[in-house]
Symmetry: C2
Subunit: 293 residues, 2 copies
């Protein structure tokens, strides 16, 4: 697409592609001369969990493509229980769209899928943004059963998106104000919404986290073979996937810049969307082989 | 100064101010409406160790002030053996210049002095940039005697600035090419140069590192009381002051953004001066109370 028109995840129609024996739900909007950017979503997240304050600015100058992996939202099939299988679905989806080269933004679970995909098919990807995620063999990945998280997740006072305010943000007044703005933004879309993920999505994706926590051979050695320029982003107080995992990513990927945000948890990109999208766009726009921007 | 003329550390005259019973050597150049930025220097570094590729872009829009602490370069007195005493000299110098409010960029040893100064006189400082440095109680701070560093420092083949190429940069071809460009830049100034620091400077500053490694009370608790917006920068392969110290800074300072650079050691700001000064200038130019830029 050569249009530079910027649309919004609040309004872009959901589309479906039949490929790989599945029907995958997706949205694509924006456009421009830059490579398209595929966004890979977090635990239990659907198309509707992508914050327009993140997707929309990024869709200026490039197409942004959001995607429901198998069994999530309105995509058919079973939710895979490994990152590797999720990566195969995402690859089939890209192939179905005819996309031969793109950039990728993987958030949380989606960052793991992105890491797997660039190892499976390095030539498809140019640049990678990894937010609030962990390498294979990372530590304390999405242990929602630990007391600090469980009490917030199980609190019956948290209805709908309320739980995201508690687990994606810190308890500070500033972070909670940002949380409220975030929930307001992702609630704006009034129709053509995905169904909310149920316990079957959560349990399969949790199995995938447990498998991903097991190192394959020497811990983090796989990262040394990923030359792609990478921007790693995290909140310093992320309790779902602690920031130490971002440290290991930026230390072991040979070509990664790390950016961490203060007073922020797992949802740092949603807490500081203006800063995040400005840095992400500058990173994506760099013509150099170095991640440094 | 209201001029926006940008000068260079390759040519700016060295000046002297008599105050606090000392004569302090300094340079000031650039100008603009932003607060002046004082730069605090690394172990054994003099005015001539400030890379023009860092100082000169930062002097656009603001005055940049470089300073030799007591006993270093052409400043009189004994080199202090504590960070606290170095901070008192720097404070006296600022007072002598009549500077009541400024930003500070502290690199390595200079970052420790900056941290001490903002705790001693919080109201003088607005924003802080800390590069390749460590909080009080940090780990593995400037242990030049450890084998990995000692062999490079003691190699008789390393003359003059050659040692900086070995200890500020990594061994990669790209980093060594950046090292050569750095050494070329700091060698450009042909007269009015500082004398090179001798062993007395090194031994006193090393004593200061050893004292700074000892926590005062609960480790890193002092950082929680520093509200100043802070940008923390480090190379991920810093062997002189490992990046873990930057992690502790950005986790424990309440208002700090962390930026780390790939394939970079202690001299990350000199390896990537274009990126560093662009981010530093954006950070310094932010009108907000948050460090997020």
């Amino acid at each position: 697409m050569s249009s530079t028109k910027t649309e919004s995840n609040s309004a872009a129609p959901t589309r479906f592609i039949e490929t790989n024996g599945h029907s995958y739900a997706y949205r694509r909007f924006g456009g421009g001369s830059a490579l398209p950017l595929i966004l890979l979503q977090h635990f239990t997240g659907t198309l509707d969990n992508w914050d327009p304050a993140v997707t929309d600015p990024l869709s200026s100058g490039r197409e942004v493509i959001l995607f429901d992996n198998a069994g999530v939202g309105r995509s058919t099939g079973d939710v895979p229980v490994t990152i590797a299988a999720m990566a195969r679905h995402a690859a089939a989806f890209l192939e179905g769209l005819g996309i031969k080269r793109c950039d990728v933004l993987g958030y949380s679970l989606g960052g793991m899928v992105a890491l797997q995909m660039v190892q499976d098919q390095p030539s498809i990807f140019r640049r990678m943004i990894l937010v609030g995620t962990a390498p294979r063999g990372g530590e304390d990945i999405m242990h929602l059963e630990k007391p600090s998280l469980a009490k917030r997740i199980q609190d019956p006072a948290n209805k709908g998106y309320d739980v995201l305010r508690k687990i994606f943000f810190t308890s500070s007044a500033a972070s909670q104000a940002a949380a409220e703005a975030f929930v307001h933004r992702i609630s704006q879309r009034s129709d053509d919404r995905d169904p909310v993920s149920g316990p079957n999505v959560a349990s399969a994706q949790t199995a995938a986290f447990r498998e991903w926590e097991v190192p394959a051979g020497e811990r983090f050695a796989d990262l040394s073979h990923i030359p792609h320029p990478t921007l790693v982003v995290n909140g310093v107080h992320d309790e779902m996937i602690p920031v130490v995992n971002s440290y290991r990513l930026s230390e072991n990927l040979p070509n990664a810049v790390l950016l961490t945000y203060p007073d922020a948890g797992h949802g740092s990109l949603f807490q500081y969307p203006e800063s995040f999208t400005r840095h992400a766009a500058a990173f994506l726009s760099s013509p150099f082989e170095s991640a440094v921007f």
